[in-house]
Symmetry: C2
Subunit: 343 residues, 2 copies
């Protein structure tokens, strides 16, 4: 112990690791270093951007091997409990499972809908699992970027299954859909009532609907809801080519349907790997990610500009009052903006 | 006749009208001048931008008095025939009716799905009607801008009902939804088959679904389809506060349901005028229009830049090959872009 002291002190003096140390640690599946690398990637500080990108670039060849599964559902749908049950099952089957969260609420209200602190206690303690709460600051776009990069870090650290959890607020379902292979919507019995709180079109981006809490006195209702949703899905466009989105029942409490959920996910994987959708979707997701970062930056550069920020409300007001046609208002602001960068 | 010659010659020598002449002509409901003003607004030429915006700014106080109705449906759903039947009914009731089209197909394929040339012959000839084909060039964003401005010109020319027709391609439904008060989706019998070709979530932006061609041997099927769709709508979020989106039947051939369609639209109008949604939605549409023009311009300025155009495919390729993390690729292109405007 005493012998380690000087070494330990040296370590403490150097505040940040070198990118190479992070890379080695991640590839060696060191959980502590993985967690530190995620913190670096999540950092808002521009000085951390270069090193986090260097880490990412170096771990890229080791990514892509997991299956990425997204879960959404309104608060109370039982997402965390179900993900924990699925996660434990998978760990017992010998998989390494990482659970990430995209929680848009924490960026808006500073409170977390997903309740990161206390959730998934049992799974968190499993040696094959890694549970990471949502990055807690920034725009949804920022949270999404960090979650995407965290996902890559987890893959490089050898996780076979990555589960991304979100709640139906704002655009978060679309964002999670755009970073996973298979997207699952959790529902409750109640004949569509809970869909009222979800994003429009959410059923059309789902690869499977699961009626959760299909247990006890709720079981019969769940069967009815399953039939209703299957009827409904008939009218909607499936999210994935050659794959029929269906409604199923599941219970985290009794374990009903959890094994079958994993079977369904594997069947989905086989289908989309065979028809080329898997690879094609992943490539498209990478390009869309890059494009969305560019778009966000351009918009932020414009709308974050001090002069635009002061003029925009004036023009907006003139437009809503009917004093200025929208195209002219837009043109005036654009002229102002571009003039700043040409002078 | 001979006396008019010199005057007529003078007129011919001056190639373009002054904005004031357009404004007077539009406000006097002169159809020829209205049509010319629309052509000016539709012009891609930047030299026409200032005069068309001057016209728009001056007619703004005379806009906003119509009810704006959007129709969408797949090719073959019978949109044009139905709109013509509704239009003639409204003309007979004493309304002035303008029909515009947003046809994204003509911008992509140079062919028109809506088949503007020959459609609505009977309505076109009615003295109370004005049928204008889709602007035939530019991006969907460009087509949308022109259609929005055309809509305002028609309002200033005294049209009480503006019908905007589109087909379910790309984002055109969303674009039309964003410029109208009431949005109607036309369907056929066939248990959801035709929805397969439509945009995801289209039923959730609709204020009414109409099963068209509910006549002859098709009538019973149409009743069944109506029941199915009403069942389905139960599960979806309504597009408009305090308004229940429902499925109805209609036949342009027999006239069944056309009167009732107008009653439903008027009932919708009463509801949303009473609860404030009418005004609130229109103001929001104007602001969104302005914002979308800004966004389009910023993106076009970036992606249209020559250096970006040559570098983007390279970076995109590095990203899809897994050689470069998307955030870094985005940053490299953004650095390149912003450097150009600071040097």
């Amino acid at each position: 112990m005493a012998e380690n002291q000087p070494h330990s002190n040296r370590k403490r003096r150097r505040r940040t690791k070198l990118p190479a140390e992070y890379i080695d640690g991640i590839l060696a599946a060191d959980r502590t270093i993985l967690a530190q690398a995620i913190t670096l990637v999540e950092s808002q500080s521009t000085k951390h951007f270069a090193s986090s990108q260097e880490i990412l670039q170096n771990i890229m060849p080791y990514t892509g091997q997991s299956i990425r599964i997204g879960f959404t559902g309104v608060p109370g749908a039982g997402k965390s409990t179900l993900i924990e049950a699925l996660g434990i099952l998978l760990c017992e089957k010998g998989y390494n499972v990482a659970v990430l969260a995209v929680d848009p609420s924490s960026t808006v209200s500073k409170g977390s809908i997903l309740g990161d602190k206390t959730r998934m206690e049992k799974l968190s303690k499993h040696p094959s699992a890694f549970v990471r709460p949502s990055p807690s600051s920034g725009t949804l776009g920022g949270v999404a970027r960090k979650s995407r990069e965290t996902l890559l870090l987890c893959e490089a650290a050898g996780f076979d299954v990555i589960i991304v959890e979100t709640v139906g607020v704002g655009q978060s379902e679309t964002v999670v859909r755009s970073m996973v292979d298979c997207f699952i919507v959790l529902l409750l019995t109640g004949a569509g009532d809970e869909l009222q709180g979800m994003k429009k079109g959410v059923m059309e981006i789902a690869d499977a609907l699961y009626i959760n809490k299909a247990d006890g006195p709720n079981y019969e209702e769940a069967l009815k809801a399953r039939a209703e949703y299957n009827r409904l899905l008939h009218f909607l466009q499936p999210a994935t080519k050659d794959w029929t989105t269906s409604a199923q029942i599941v219970s985290a409490l009794t374990g009903t349907g959890i094994d079958e959920m994993w079977d369904l996910i594997r069947k989905f994987e086989t289908t989309v790997k065979a028809n080329g959708v898997w690879e094609e979707r992943r490539q498209r997701q990478m390009v869309e990610w890059m494009e969305s970062l560019i778009e966000e930056s351009l918009l932020q550069h414009f709308f974050g500009n001090e002069e635009i920020r002061s003029k925009f409300p004036v023009k907006k007001n003139e437009v809503t009052e009917g004093q200025l046609p929208p195209a002219q208002a837009a043109q005036q602001l654009l002229d102002l903006y571009f003039k700043m960068f040409h002078s």
